[in-house]
């Protein structure tokens, strides 16, 4: 169980987001190593970036593909970031737009530079990330070329975007 779900060892939690900064170093904990080899993943190396995962919104409500979820706010310093939606097995979710995520370069921003990503099963105006209506999904927020890493402790060092469920059918 610990190898499929992971543990709380060496984690960095900011809002709804969790990262394991040591996963991309040789100081990785044995549980994360076992998880990675078992699932066939390749962790992001520390010199490359860091990955944050969210499985629930800010109020700890699990992310539901049938609901409307909004990711908005500020992001930590990084050359660029990507936001990707996965099913519970880490696969992308098929949709007619072939839209599986956004990068900071392509996102539509408001006049103040802020952004809102609407995650929903039906089309939404602006930055729409389709869920395909699946029950449970996870979001991965990756920062590349960033000072966020092993030394990061608090929200002040890494202000992460908010996740809010705004409506369920």
């Amino acid at each position: 169980m610990t190898t499929t779900r992971g543990t709380e060892l060496g984690t960095l939690t900011i809002g709804a987001w969790t990262a394991r900064p040591r996963i991309g170093t040789t100081d990785i904990d044995p549980y994360s190593r076992a998880t990675i080899t078992r699932n066939g993943e390749l962790p992001i190396g520390t010199g490359d970036g860091i990955a944050f995962t969210a499985r629930a919104d800010d109020k700890k409500k699990p992310l539901d593909g049938r609901c409307d979820v909004v990711v908005s706010g500020v992001t930590p310093a990084a050359r660029f970031w990507t936001l990707t939606l996965y099913d519970n097995k880490g696969r992308l979710v098929a949709n007619s737009l072939q839209r599986y995520g956004f990068t900071s370069e392509e996102i539509v921003r408001g006049a103040d530079g802020g952004f809102e990503i609407h995650i929903a099963s039906r089309a939404r105006a602006g930055n729409w990330l389709p869920t395909g209506g699946i029950e449970r999904y996870s979001l991965m927020f990756r920062l590349y070329d960033t000072p966020v890493g092993v030394a990061t402790r608090t929200k002040r060092d890494a202000p992460m975007p908010q996740i809010a469920t705004v409506g369920c059918p």
Binding site: G24, T26, A34, R38, E41, L42, T46, D48, Y144, D145
Partner: protein, 204 residues
């Protein structure tokens, strides 16, 4: 009573031992790890493009669909590897993993500070066997020590939007990863090695 207590303690201890052994052994016995998954589709000591992340692609979980990815599966037993990756327009990075997916080094285009990321990958023994003068002239070339003889080098290039994916892939296609062709010089280095034994001592 004491017998039941003893049984419980023994059970807990045994469980703990099994737990520890399985967690620590898993990286070595896993058959579906990233290296095993990549082995059938990649060439040894050459750059292979990985098909882009897509719902039908179950090669590896949690791939970033915004990045073009290429892999060089390496084996250093025949000699050090020369890696050359031209920097793409957006972002390029090179990450190194041991045979058991331990991320031991990663560098991006900005920290490399050049138009082409050029690296020499070798085992510690091969690094120590380098002729000394070569080490000095190597000031501008980056030498990475691999903790394992085999492993993976993962090259990534950003496609800032989906339409630029082809461009990112083309950029990676121009990179190379091969065993160093200076085999004659390597042999020369091997022959005089027994003669000057102080050399390694001086360097260490």
């Amino acid at each position: 009573m004491i017998r039941i207590l003893f049984t419980i303690i023994a059970g807990v201890l045994l469980g703990g031992v099994v737990h520890l052994v399985s967690v620590l052994a898993l990286p070595r016995i896993a058959t579906q790890d990233a290296y095993s998954r990549l082995t059938p589709i990649t060439k040894l000591n050459a750059v292979t493009q990985i098909p882009p992340a897509d719902p039908g692609n179950t090669l590896m979980p949690y791939l970033d669909p915004a990045l073009a990815v290429a892999v060089c599966r390496y084996d250093l037993s025949t000699g050090p590897i020369k890696l050359s990756v031209p920097v793409s327009q957006a972002y390029t990075s090179v990450s190194f993993y041991t045979r058991n997916e331990l991320a031991y080094y990663a560098i991006n285009d900005r920290s490399a500070g050049k138009k082409v990321i050029e690296l020499d990958l070798m085992t510690e023994a091969q690094h120590n066997a380098l002729p000394e003068d070569e080490d000095i002239t190597a000031a501008d070339r980056l030498i990475i020590d691999s903790p394992s003889t085999t492993g993976l080098i993962v090259l990534k290039a950003l496609a800032p939007e989906p339409g630029l994916m082809a461009q990112a892939q083309t950029s990676l296609a121009n990179s190379s990863c091969q065993v160093q062709v200076e085999q004659p010089t390597a042999k020369q280095a091997e022959v005089p090695l027994p003669a000057p034994p102080p050399a390694p001592r001086g360097r260490r």
